[in-house]
Symmetry: none
Subunit: 167 residues, 2 copies
């Protein structure tokens, strides 16, 4: 299972005028290891209103997973739509490279779908990590198992930095 690393922890990061933002330092090391370079895979989350990120190797895992499902299906004489499965998983997924200082440009379509405005809350959830608009996350906490106090803390912190002109 590719290194068996689990993403954890949380941090907030700002999007600048050029649409760039930096990957929090605590996630970077593993991205580099798991990607054999500075690559971040970013896509939309299947259920939540946020984005998901992980290193390249996870993408390869996803591919072999689909392959296994297909093989199991044909062995049973059933049909399995690989393309449908692939489309679901891969179509929104982009390979982004971040620079030596950890920054990457957030593609506009992902920014829009993830409802990301001025600040992004990163938080690890095991095999992947999520990118939320902190406010969106607060508004939907009921179904998303995240400690609300944590989000509020980061939000307050972000508000202070930008001198109150939040959002």
């Amino acid at each position: 299972m590719s290194g068996a690393y689990a993403y954890s922890g949380s941090a907030i990061s700002a999007i600048d005028d050029k649409g760039r933002l930096s990957v929090p330092a605590f996630l970077r090391k593993n991205l580099v290891e798991s990607s054999d370079g500075r690559t971040l895979c970013l896509g939309t989350h299947e259920k939540w209103d946020c984005l998901v990120g992980f290193g390249l190797s996870r993408k390869a895992d996803m591919l072999t997973e689909i392959d296994k499902q297909w093989e199991a299906a044909i062995a049973r004489g059933e049909s399995f739509d690989k393309d449908a499965a692939g489309a679901r998983k891969f179509s929104s997924l982009q390979d982004l490279s971040f620079d030596a200082s950890g920054r990457f440009i957030l593609p506009p379509q992902l920014r829009e779908i993830g409802q990301l405005e001025s600040h992004v809350l990163f938080h690890g959830i095991g095999t992947t990590f999520c990118l939320w608009n902190p406010q969106t996350l607060l508004d939907t906490t009921d179904d998303v198992p995240v400690d609300r106090r944590l989000v509020e803390h980061h939000l307050k912190e972000a508000g202070e930095k930008s001198g109150g002109k939040s959002k």
Copy 2:
């Protein structure tokens, strides 16, 4: 599994007056690697109203896939028509070469079958990628698992560039 690379991500690209269009940059690198040159294999999709593309090496993979299906079938005492499967997969397939700037000429018959007009939406689905008329894709999303918001974003983007004369 041929390098275990997965095509992912999406982008829109315009067809010019000469029938040329450029392969989005993020797909190009892998096409070159997987084709040992600037070759793109393009054909019609078996189920969806779009085209499929991939690098040359994928053709070999497709053969072994058919083989696996055949083996699975006889293991269960069923019959499997290899020729029919091959015909379905390969007969529409063309090897096209793209130039240094990533452009190729879209053969008229594929253009017609793929219903491609002014703009083409490329999106990776793992082992291959699809080429859609964005409008067609929007009209059929029910059976095709692609994030509708993504398509809408690209369509809007394309409309802006061409100054509203979308089509």
